[in-house]
Symmetry: C2
Subunit: 379 residues, 2 copies
Amino acid sequence: MKKKYIVTPGPVDVPPQVLLAMAQPIIHHRSPEYTPIFKEVNEGLKYVFQTANPVLTFASSGSGAMESAVVNLLSPGDKMLAIVGGKFGERWFDIGKAYGLDPIIENVEWGYGVDPGRIAEQLKNNPDIKVVYSTLCESSTGALMNIKALADTVSKTDAILVVDAISGLLTTPLKTDEWNIDVVVGGSQKALMTPPGLAFASVNNKAWEMVKKSKLPKFYFSWDKARKNLEKDTTPFTPAITTIFGLQAALKMIKEEGIENVWKRHDRLASAMRAGVKALGLDVYTKAVAPTLTAISVPEGVDGKAWPKVLRDKFGVTVAGGQGDVTGKIIRIAQMGYASTFDVTVALSAVELSLSDMGYKVNIGAGVKAALEYLDQNK
Amino acid sequence: MKKKYIVTPGPVDVPPQVLLAMAQPIIHHRSPEYTPIFKEVNEGLKYVFQTANPVLTFASSGSGAMESAVVNLLSPGDKMLAIVGGKFGERWFDIGKAYGLDPIIENVEWGYGVDPGRIAEQLKNNPDIKVVYSTLCESSTGALMNIKALADTVSKTDAILVVDAISGLLTTPLKTDEWNIDVVVGGSQKALMTPPGLAFASVNNKAWEMVKKSKLPKFYFSWDKARKNLEKDTTPFTPAITTIFGLQAALKMIKEEGIENVWKRHDRLASAMRAGVKALGLDVYTKAVAPTLTAISVPEGVDGKAWPKVLRDKFGVTVAGGQGDVTGKIIRIAQMGYASTFDVTVALSAVELSLSDMGYKVNIGAGVKAALEYLDQNK
């Protein structure tokens, strides 16, 4: 018997309420039983995305909604700017390339946020950039981008800003309408506490104007089709009905807690986690820390590829290792979505015990103590 | 209290084993716990698709996999042939149009199957047709296409045959490798007895050769990406983990029953259903009947748009109405996937009671009696 915990930055632990909602018998998606459910989900998504604009839902992974934010906005040969500070920023570039666009990269050092001044400069030097693509939290590094400043910069130009908020959504304030963010992309399996299989895109009027001119081919991910159907509270293609049931239950929990409290909770837990990490003499890898996840630098003398395996196989705690350039150099732990005080305790306890088990000298209990002190002092 | 039944041609009733499997806690999709599950699912899919070739899995509706069978095979301006005998045949044409192809339509009268001789002629007159797209069962009419003969015709040419088996798969024999079908597309929410959200494409070597030359843009639905990941028992993007759990349970049930028995069961239940319909003096709309679903012509004097609503709202039985050209003219009932003897009884009882309730003179019990007699004599 080994009790198991998942503390990766997605997919995340799904609350029992959500799992039980998903065990309901199937109903037909073109029926008066389904309509009010999808309506409620759409209202809930607007709240989560902090927008009065339609939030389109797709049966796909988050990457599908990312692709939708390229094919519905641009035309062959168009110039786009991808802010790349990790694996998911790179994905914007890859999608642009796949669709024959002319993607410019704004490289950001891994672990750091983007300098909005650089983007202003890029837009000035390349006035033909149609869309700026950014992540909110770059999951591969844990870095938070200053989306408010970025939106401030981009909204003054003809370009539009698309934000991949797949991992960041709900973990940190993102005020879509108030900040003038044109498009926000999300996924179900992060702080939305629902299994993977649903992806979302909120689209404002400035972006819809661009949609009208877009000539890239699209069918399944067509925003136009999705919006026309959304007006009738439905989707153009069979939705992932069961996952919609789950999302309905998750959105209800989020509404009950209140989005400001959800943001605060993530910030508080991530701060406690970082306090614990530092108290153990370990380094937080990320410079521009997001409350989405904590990336811990693998200390010298520890095998960084083996560490996540020890955590998982010996202690039952699944964390994420590093990807791309930081493979073997960091581990990533999230208190995301359905996470509370004692998820921090579990994660830090596992970090301490696993390091000691791997022969690394660690002051057992010091991390947990520091985290608890932080939590006790910051209620 | 009203007990509810869903007898639409998808989504279909999901067995409790599958629902319970989906209520399991989330695990990470890049973990040694997930790998054997996905491996088992992939083996099961090969069995269902009757192929030794890889079956690619996407987190999407069936239409996403249909789109994948266009964008991975063709290049801008390519000629394709869409066999159109209903709404889903039309979808092949629509996707081709959306991607700037040159789609030819082979019109088939609704409710009828396609004449393979016509396709041979089309291919002879248009030797530049690269791909022939057909449905297996056209869900909007219940018509079965003679895929064996079609594959026989197409396999003698350089063209390849793509079959949309989303609704037909498992309800009728489809021998992908033995019949030389190049690509078969499927979905989770039909006779695979799993909630919607997964779509599949089996691809043979002749089709893979075409994939190499295809120049249409693709990213999320890239077969090349999917195959490379499948070789490592994974997917390029986060899979719909929970739905994969469900599919694993469903595939286990299918394997235990044996695919020949699954085919026979569908044929037997559909035959009993048709016997019941005829005994009530009603007409089966479809000429080339598929064992996938039964399309009943709305008898004169009955409001065909109201009938499905009466069935659902007054009797708790959800059926599908007609789509497109046959809106209000037919109702569609399926004994698909998790269906047995008494699903036929329920459907026919509901047909009888609802017709009587709507003031149509019906010999109550005659349909059920005829169906039971058929079932009793054909074990």
